[in-house]
Every structure is written in C-alpha cells, then in structure tokens.
C-alpha cells in the first residue's frame, strides 16, 4: 500500500500576483502577503525532541537538535501569511534572549536565527467552519488581504470595543438559546387544550359565520 506522507504544493503564480497587487510589497520588494501550503511551509524548531512510536505513543528517544518542520497546522490546508518587519522581533540580542534554550549543556536556537529580513506570520487558514478543505482562490485571498489591511487602519479602541461587545453578546446568546431549549421541554401550546380545525374556503367560512350568528 502506498502511503502519502507528505504532499508538497507551490502557490500558483496567478495567486501570487493577485496577493502582491492587493497587499503591496515590502522594503525588500517581496509581497506583503503570500499563500502557503501547510506541508510546504517549513520553519526551524530547536530543542529537545521526544520521538514517539506512532502505534503505541510510547517514547522512543529524546534528542537535542533543530528540525526543519512544517510551521502551521493543519498540514493539508492553504494558509495566508503576512510579512512582519524585523523591528517587530526586537534586536537580535532580544531574539536570542527569548528564543535560546539550554538543554543540558547545549544551547539551542528554538526558532532558528534572528529574522533579519523580517518573517512571514500566519494570518488565516483557508477552511470551512467544520474544518473542511477550501481551495485556494484568488478572489478569496484578495478579500482576506483587504480585510486585514482594512483592520490595520482601524483605531485600537474600536477593536477593543468590538471584542467587548462580542463577549457581552455571548451572555445574551446563551440566555436566548437556553430559553429555546427549555421551550422544547414544554408541551405544545404550553399545555392549553386545542382542537384542529380543517382549512375552510372563504365561502365555507361565510356560511359558518352566518350559522353561528343565527344560533346566537
């Protein structure tokens, strides 16, 4: 049986072009945004690795090293990234302070060398609400890029307000949902007696009304 253990994909040139047009280019002439396939986007992870038996989950070995592994999950999805300038990561001394780890007597760079040309960071995973695969599409990518760029232009206070509103709404959403759930536990028409009346034509209804009046 052939088992696919890794699927490598390259972003189509047309998508790259549309992303560059929507998001512009950075100081190095590279696009600010790019789409990457999960399996193809690799990054350094250094430190003590614990290798486990896939069948039993038991530990096989521990080894201190830097590995070049997929940066984002899920591996089989497209991810959108945005370029962040090196200033975001502080100085190289600060980078070393943050990311260097000591394992026994070894000093390892947990995230690899200082990103002196900046680094692309994860923005969005293209997938459906239940984690379903979504194909890479130029229009979708453009929309996301414009949404992120628009977001960057908004005042911080507005973003703060939106987050607070969303959290407040969670409480009212729960109450509304709880009322609906409790309604399901109640008998139909809240237990009031009722009879089913067959649908009448307007002529029948006039006759019935006349009969009722005569009876009265």
């Amino acid at each position: 049986m052939i088992q696919v253990i890794r699927e490598d994909k390259r972003t189509p040139a047309e998508i790259e072009h549309r992303l560059a047009q929507a998001g512009g280019v950075n100081r190095f002439g590279e696009p600010n945004f790019r789409a990457v396939w999960g399996w193809s986007r690799l990054g350094w992870i250094g430190g003590k690795w614990v290798d486990r038996d896939p069948a039993t989950g038991g530990m096989i070995r521990e080894v201190v090293e830097a590995r070049w592994v997929p940066k984002y999950l899920p591996f089989d999805r497209w991810h959108l990234e945005r370029w962040l300038p090196p200033e975001i990561y502080g100085s190289s001394e600060n980078w070393n302070r943050i990311t260097q780890e000591t394992e026994g007597v070894q000093l390892v760079e947990a995230l690899g060398p200082f990103p002196s040309r900046g680094e692309y960071e994860h923005c969005l995973t293209l997938e459906g609400p239940t984690g379903k695969f979504v194909q890479l599409d130029g229009s979708v990518c453009e929309w996301v890029v414009r949404a992120i760029e628009y977001s960057r232009g908004l005042p911080a206070s507005a973003g703060l307000r939106a987050l607070r509103d969303r959290e407040e709404k969670k409480g009212t959403d729960y109450e509304k949902w709880a009322y609906d759930v409790l309604d399901d536990a109640m008998p139909a028409l809240h237990g009031c007696p009722f009879v089913v009346v067959p649908r009448m034509s307007s002529a029948d209804r006039r006759t019935a009304d006349r009969g009722t009046r005569e009876l009265a």
Partner: protein
C-alpha cells in the same frame, strides 16, 4: 379540589424542564464544558478518585550482532496514580411569592417565570464554575490591592472579572490561613477592577484574598483550574504526586514574557515546546486551543496579522462578498492555533490547552438537589415561620484532571494593552 398552589406549579414546571438541565449545563462555550467528561477516573471512596497515569515509558533499546551476544534485560513503564477529591458545587435559586401574584391562574406565566429562573440561574452557575477553573485550585477569585470603606479595588491580573452581583464571598489573609469572615457583593465594576460589599469583615487588610462561600479551613481546596495544572515548577505536588519525583513529567513548558507586549515569537516558542513533546502534528491531533482573555486577543489583533473583530462583525451572510468567515463561524487563529477567548481568563497569560488530555471526573452529574423526590423547598424566616419565597438548587460534584502537566504550554507575564 383545591387550587394548584404556585409552589406546586413551580415544582411541576421544574420537573418538565429537568431533562434539559444537563443540556443547558453542557453547552461547550466555556472552558469547563470544553473539557470532556472522562470515564477513566474511578470512584474509590466517597472522597477520592484515582486516575492511573503512565508517567515514564518502559523498554530498553540496544543494537546487536546476534552472533551470540547478550540481548540484555528490559524495563517496564513507570505508572503512578493521581488522586482527586471531587468538590460539590451548589447554586441556590430563590423565587419570591411575588412571582405567584404575578402569575396566578396562568400556567404559561408560571412556566415563563420558571424558565427565566432556570436559564439565568444556570448561566450564573456556569459562570461561577468557569471562574473557579481559572484559579490554581485554592478557590482564590481575586485579591485586594486596596480598599476604601466597602469598595475594594482588586489586584491585576484578574481584577473583578471572576465575581458577580450578590455573590457571597469569604476573605482570607494572603497566606490563606486566617478566615476573616464573609461578605456579600453589592456591585461589580470589572472595568475599574472594583467590587463593593455590604460590610467589611473585621481585620480586612490589603493583600487579603477572596474565595467563594463554603470553603473552610486553612489552605482550602476547590476546583483544580488551569493555573493548578499548568505550572512550570519542579517543587510542590500535583494531584497527590510530588513534582520532585518526576520533574520532567510534572511541569508545564512555559515562556515568561517579563511584562513585554505579545509578539509572534512568544507564541511560537510556547507552541513549539509542546510540539517537541507531543509531536509536530499536536495542534490538530490534540485539539489544541490558545486560551486567553480579550486583552491578549486584542494585542494579537494589534500585530496586524488577523482580521479584526470589527470586520468579522461586518460580514453578514447577505454581504456581496465571499463569506469566507462562514458567517463568523470560521475560527480566529494564533500562529495556526484556534483562539478561545474568555473574559474570565488571566489577562496576562495565554495557555495552550490540549483538550484531549484534560478530563472531568464527575461524582454527581448536574441536576436539581432532591430530597425524597422534592426539588422545591420552602424558606423559613428569622422568626421560624415561613418566608414568602421558595428555593431550588443546582448541584454537581466534580473535579478537573489532565494526563500530565507536560501536555500543555503557557506564556505568562504578558503586558496588557492600553485601554484596559
């Protein structure tokens, strides 16, 4: 035949909705209910539960010529047992006689009043339990930075986020040794991190800590929260096991931000610590979430790598643009990890929680408190006579555990963005 008294009517309505009580409780929108009930916690007595854990793997590997050489001996896994004491949490709902006067003769009105009390009571009870889940297992919901008369200003990071109006609380000294007494909260101001109480307990001092009503004795124990399990230390105990015995297995990898603002490197360092232990595909296999307060979600938005909540809210389903966010159902992610925000979370931390490794040991499922089939109880006044109200209770007995503190990671000491 006598008319149906309202107490009976309320009891009848409560029974009608009784099967829905677990449904209301289990909605997975708070951290407590995202943690699944697990059957591997075994009741061994009225007070303790045992969770067997494989702390260290067994087996010895070696290379051989197979030319008559010695294959050596093997070894077995190291197992130990974590022990838990479930705590019983109860939430009393009191309905006054006024409800009866407002609803007499109309079953639907009684039904609505009962529904309202069940729904709002459950909402509050869940909030209370979720608040306890943010603590380090000692029930401390906040600590007093300063006080003026009966208004207490609470210390960061939690501030007043874990309290609610009319909650009964107790005050302990900062070492959790002396119980100074009780108070009832009369107002909560989370933005200013203040609560006001009916009266100060005697001897109140700055640095005192606040715990829920019902805890007793020195160093009380409550629900084991995130800060109980996610600890980067080799001293102390975890679920009855000494961390010093298994130092590598009983501590949680963490990154100390040192009061610096959130940057992507913090997150990647923390997540990678987890990936090195659990495998590179841990994020999806272990149902990993990045659990944080809105403050840190806002800090992440400020980095400009995500779509702001404002934009997400502006994309109704009928919008003439691709509904990529699936009507806001698409998850917001932090370095690829789904974000779960809670107003109860510590504002200076981000916890990477591997949900599959966590469990709820349940000794008593959520239900009404029942005595001889009765779930509604009369209230007695100070004179010994009946008071004009009646009570019902939600009650549950549970404790939170995980397979091992190593199966998580956290970033702490993050700066809170301006505006909070």
């Amino acid at each position: 035949m006598p008319a149906l008294a309202n107490a009976q009517s309320v009891a009848l309505q409560l029974e009608k909705v009784r099967p829905k009580v677990p449904v209301l409780f289990e909605r997975d929108d708070i951290l407590l209910t995202l943690i699944q009930k697990r059957a591997d916690a075994e009741n061994v007595s009225a007070r303790n539960m045992r969770v067997p854990l494989q702390i260290r793997p067994g087996g010895k590997a070696s290379q051989h010529t197979m030319d008559g050489d010695d294959l050596g001996l093997g070894s077995g896994s190291v197992y130990d047992v974590a022990t838990l004491s479930p705590v019983f949490e109860t939430f009393g709902v009191q309905i006054t006689k006024l409800v009866e006067y407002a609803t007499t003769g109309n079953e639907r009105a009684v039904e609505n009043a009962t529904k309202r009390e069940v729904a709002s009571g459950m909402k509050q009870f869940r909030m209370y339990l979720d608040a306890l889940l943010q603590t380090n297992g000692n029930g401390v919901l906040g600590s007093i930075a300063s006080f003026a008369s009966t208004t207490w200003t609470l210390a960061q990071p939690q501030g007043a986020a874990l309290f609610y109006y009319n909650q009964d609380v107790q005050v302990y000294d900062s070492t959790l040794t002396t119980n100074r007494g009780s108070a009832t909260i009369t107002s909560v101001d989370p933005l200013n991190k203040q609560i006001t109480v009916n009266a100060n307990p005697g001897g109140l001092a700055n640095g005192d800590v606040i715990v829920p009503s019902g805890l007793s004795g020195a160093q009380p124990t409550s629900i084991f929260g995130v800060k109980y399990h996610h600890v980067d230390s080799t001293s102390g105990t975890w679920l009855g096991l000494s961390r010093a015995t298994y130092p590598e297995a009983l501590k949680t990898p963490h990154f100390a931000a040192g009061n610096a603002a959130l940057v992507p490197a913090n997150i990647r360092v923390a997540v990678n610590k987890l990936r090195k232990v659990l495998g590179t595909d841990v994020l999806s296999r272990e149902k990993l979430i990045a659990y944080m307060a809105p403050e840190q979600e806002h800090a992440w938005e400020q980095l400009g790598v995500t779509i702001s909540e404002i934009v997400r809210n502006q994309v109704p389903s009928e919008a003439p643009m691709p509904d990529l966010l699936f009507n806001q159902q698409a998850e917001k992610r932090m370095a690829g990890v789904p974000i779960k925000t809670s107003i109860h979370a510590d504002t200076t931390r981000i916890d990477f929680i591997a949900l599959k490794r966590w469990g709820r040991a349940i000794m008593k499922e959520i239900d009404y408190y029942e005595v001889g089939g009765q779930t509604v109880f009369p209230v007695y006044g100070a004179s010994g006579g009946l008071a004009s109200s009646y009570l019902f209770y939600f009650t549950t007995g549970l404790q939170i555990f995980m397979d091992g503190p190593r199966y998580g990671a956290f970033v702490d000491g993050l700066a809170v963005p301006q505006g909070y």
